[in-house]
């Protein structure tokens, strides 16, 4: 296995996942791009050994064509995903003038409702006791 590709895979995975953990949608999109590249390199590096291109008739040992075919499909799918994420980022910007992914409102409300419902329990008992 190629040492430099392996290290490169590590860098791409690290950079990609760091970007994905950001709030900025643009950065998330960049992360999808970087990580996608990392996956492709990983599959080629781990799935085949360096050799001649798998075209029948070429001299020398031919490399394993299947990882290449898989990665080709993965590249295209990655491109499709990235385009969609970018469109989403674009749309998000046109709505909010903001590139960031906000936290979910309902989830945040739960903590607040927690305290208000405790109050309502007491009230209910007061109602129960009074005729």
């Amino acid at each position: 296995m190629s040492f430099s590709l392996l290290i490169l895979t590590g860098v791409l995975f690290a950079a990609g996942s760091y970007l994905l953990m950001e709030r900025s949608l643009t950065r998330i999109a960049l992360g999808v791009g970087v990580l996608g590249n990392g996956v492709n390199v990983l599959i080629v590096a781990a799935g085949s050994s360096p050799a001649e291109a798998p075209i029948i008739g070429r001299v020398g040992e031919l490399t394993d064509p299947l990882p290449q075919a898989l990665v080709l499909t993965a590249i295209v799918i990655g491109f499709a995903l990235l385009s969609f994420v970018l469109a989403l980022a674009w749309r998000n910007w046109t709505i909010t003038e903001n590139d960031e992914v906000e936290d979910d409102v309902e989830d945040r409300l739960i903590t607040r409702r927690d305290s208000s419902s405790a109050k309502s329990t007491d009230e209910r008992h007061r109602e129960d006791v009074s005729p």
Binding site: A53, I55, L72, V76, S83, L86, A87, W90
Partner: protein
């Protein structure tokens, strides 16, 4: 967006009022529209069909044509104008998919499994024996899909005017 009745009025770059713009636009017209695009389409077709035996294929071919549209776009044109008269991008997309699917399904009618390929050997005068593999049609479908996708993305995300492509098909 340009109405079909005025296909010449293709510039979107705020109208070529400036004389230097006119010159530049003429140069690009000449270069990009006349020559580059035609050459590129030829290259693309070549790449698509040789893919079976050498690096290339429908995907790469489609992307090369897409690259021409990108160039057209970057030089201030909306590339669909020429194409629209032939096929609306969404239709092109559907057509490409149908072509690929057709190749997939056709073997079913002769009792084979989907995607089972067939090789025809033709004797063409002058060229000699030509081998046509049914999977080439599949690759051609891929080619059209890719072209359509590039067009659609350019014409939507890339639009600079208030009319957005595709709006007309909302019933």
């Amino acid at each position: 967006m340009t109405s079909p009745e005025h296909p010449k009025d293709v510039s979107n770059s705020g109208g070529a009022r400036n004389p230097s713009d006119i010159v530049r636009s003429a140069i690009f017209d000449e270069l990009v529209d006349r020559w580059l695009s035609k050459v590129a389409v030829l290259v693309a077709i070549y790449v698509t069909f040789r893919g079976h035996n050498a690096p290339g294929g429908g995907f790469a071919g489609g992307l090369i044509v897409g690259g021409v549209f990108v160039l057209q776009y970057l030089t201030g044109r909306e590339p669909h104008v020429r194409f629209r008269t032939i096929l609306h991008p969404t239709r092109l997309l559907g057509f490409g998919l149908l072509l690929a699917l057709g190749t997939t399904v056709t073997p079913l009618f002769v009792g084979a499994t989907p995607l089972e390929s067939h090789i025809w050997k033709l004797d063409v005068p002058l060229i000699g024996e030509v081998k046509i593999v049914s999977s080439m049609f599949f690759d051609l479908g891929v080619f059209f899909v890719v072209v359509a996708v590039v067009l659609m993305i350019l014409l939507s995300l890339g639009t600079r005017q208030s009319t957005v492509f595709g709006d007309e098909d909302i019933a």
